[in-house]
Amino acid sequence: MIEIKDLHKSYKMGSNSLHVLKGINFTVGEGELVAIMGSSGSGKSTLLNILGMLDELDEGSYTLDGVPIKNLNETKAANYRNKFLGFVFQSFNLINYKSAMENVALPLYYQRVPRKERQEKALKYLEQVGLKEWAEHLPNELSGGQKQRVAIARAMAAEPKVLLADEPTGALDSTTSYEVMDLIQKINDLGNTILIVTHELDIANMCKRIVHLKDGIIIEDKKVKQVRASQYV
């Protein structure tokens, strides 16, 4: 599903250049649940941004579902993001003046799905994350865990090939974190490919595979026995 070869990325900081990713080779198959771990500054967020086409790579190649991702202009990147990817952010990034349902329906709007159909789909996904009764509520009327569940529903609504989650539990307490992980695991069980960036080991252990990043290179890539989050909920 995802294929990365010899990926390099550096940032210019004034006259200095900061080499963040120093040759990453990495493949993800369909239906995998991968945790990308590493301390801050290890390059894990940069990797995720490149995977999410929010950032451009300097060297190497990136193929997503057989499509080479390179030389994208903003419009093309936007279309690919819309078609291939779902995002879940640490700070939820819900649009605060839109109700939960409207937030979930937003990616569908950019897919030009008609309004009625959009709302039906949004409700379906909200039901899947257990928030159907909260459809008309604004984000500030929801708890952190609920917000993240709405964000996950939004990411799923566009039926992406890959779900990218950047510290999805970073702003949540452990109980809520496990609830969210439980949800992610269930979505993964349905066959969706999911990448999670995290620095919490217990969260990483709930995935099926852990990739360790340190100073811009992969130091460890191992399959783990998945811990089901449901047992903590």
Partner: protein, 420 residues
């Protein structure tokens, strides 16, 4: 351009606008106020313009008066201080020599210009009134509204020097009983009985005569007062497309030749140029209209810039939202269109409300000034001006929307999302 007609686009924009009410209202107030001021001002200026038009409607706007005074320079053997008396013969000469003249009405009067008004009697009632000797052509220069059943002096009255008169509304009130029909009745003017043939209505606005003036045929007047060919003053109307100031110069030059006055002598003839005055007044009204147009457009401009400002701030505020939208697959052009359409939509909506409010205020002013003696009539703004203002607003709204829209697009989604 397809997105403009897409219902989904508008639903999204309407959602964004209606859910940020404070921002929307503040944004709209600028343009609303601008268009309101524009409509109210230019309507008011138009009202004043119309008011002046109405005031001048009763007289020929291209008209002037000229009368004889006394010379201030010796000329051709005549000494200084000679009284100049206009004669009936001057009328024909002027008419023959100056083709720009449309009408000339010679008048002679008692009661104006330092002479005593005439004692007039009917039965037990009496009064002193100015009396004018007139030709029928006078009504071509100064409209005279005659009440039903009456008429003004006609050519036969002149030919036969009939003893007939047209009286004013005040004369009617003072000399006749209420509800009495004056037509055909006789009144004594000085020592001679005249038959009343009409009552003239006092003209609103500019008028040469007041409502006590009595008109009698010129020929009767000269017989009665033994004035011969003497003329008090000449009312001259030029054709509409003629510069009446030039006509006045021509008339004075010709009169100087006829009456053997030094061409340099400015004081031998007195005159009053209504055309010139009218030009000044209408110039003033035009200037006012123009000024209000400028002020109005400037205010609209300020309002639109205000919209741009607030949108720019809101883009900064919405950086994250726009970043999220782009992460979810909004293309840069979709984001740009959304911002521009928000701008245009707000501008037009505010503009329409402003137009309605402005029109409302104009109609209130109109009702209030209806019965006031002030040159103000029917304040309106021509439809093309309104449409023009709307067009300006749409164009400016688009242009000003471009700035925040471009700003929104230039922020990369990753930076937008990172911003906390």
């Amino acid at each position: 351009m397809k997105f403009i007609f897409d219902r989904n686009t508008w639903q999204e924009i309407f959602g964004s606008i209606s859910k940020n009410k404070t921002r929307t209202i503040i944004t709209m107030i600028g343009v609303l106020w601008g268009i309101f001021v524009y409509i109210a001002l230019s309507g008011a200026a138009q009202g004043m313009d119309n008011g002046f038009d109405k005031v001048f409607k009763t007289v020929s706007m291209n008209s002037m008066f000229v009368w004889g005074q006394s010379t201030s320079k010796p000329y051709d053997g005549y000494k200084t201080g000679r009284e100049i008396q206009l004669k009936l013969g001057d009328v024909t000469k002027l008419q023959n020599r100056i083709p720009e003249i449309q009408y000339i009405a010679p008048r002679i009067d008692m009661g104006g210009f330092g002479t005593d008004p005439v004692y007039t009697v009917r039965g037990q009632k009496s009064g002193t009134y100015p009396v004018n000797g007139d030709y029928p052509v006078y009504t071509k220069i100064a409209t005279k509204k005659i009440f039903d059943g009456g008429r003004f002096i006609n050519d036969e009255d002149i030919e036969q020097a009939r003893k007939v008169c047209v009286i004013g509304e005040r004369n009617l009130q003072e000399l006749f009983e209420k509800d009495e029909d004056p037509i055909g009745q006789y009144i004594r003017i000085g020592s001679v009985y005249f038959q009343v043939i009409g009552v003239h209505k006092l003209a609103q606005g500019v008028s040469f005569d007041n409502d006590t003036a009595i008109f009698i045929p010129f020929s009767t007047f000269r017989k009665l007062y033994n004035t011969g060919d003497d003329v008090g003053y000449l009312c001259i109307a030029a054709y509409d497309d003629v510069d009446v100031v030039q006509v006045e110069t021509d008339v004075r030059t010709l009169l100087k030749t006829i009456h053997r006055v030094d061409p340099e002598d400015e004081r031998a003839f007195g005159g009053f140029n209504l055309g010139e005055v009218f030009k000044k007044v209408s110039g003033f009204a035009k200037g006012l209209t123009f000024l209000s147009l400028i002020v109005g457009i400037a205010t609209i401009l300020a309002g639109v810039i205000g919209i741009g400002n607030i949108l720019l701030i809101s883009v900064k505020e919405r950086t994250k939202e726009l970043g999220v939208r782009r992460a979810l697959g909004a293309t840069p052009s979709e984001v740009r269109n959304q911002i521009i359409l928000e701008s245009v939509f707000l501008t037009v909506l505010a503009g329409i409300i402003g137009i309605i409010l402005g029109a409302g205020v104009l109609s209130i002013i109109n009702n209030m000034t209806k019965d006031i003696d002030f040159p103000y009539t029917n304040p309106t703004v021509p439809i093309p001006y309104v449409l023009g203002a709307l067009a300006i607003m749409v164009i400016l709204g688009t242009l000003i929307g471009l700035i925040p829209a471009q700003r929104a697009v230039s922020i990369r989604p990753i930076d937008a999302l990172r911003e906390e």
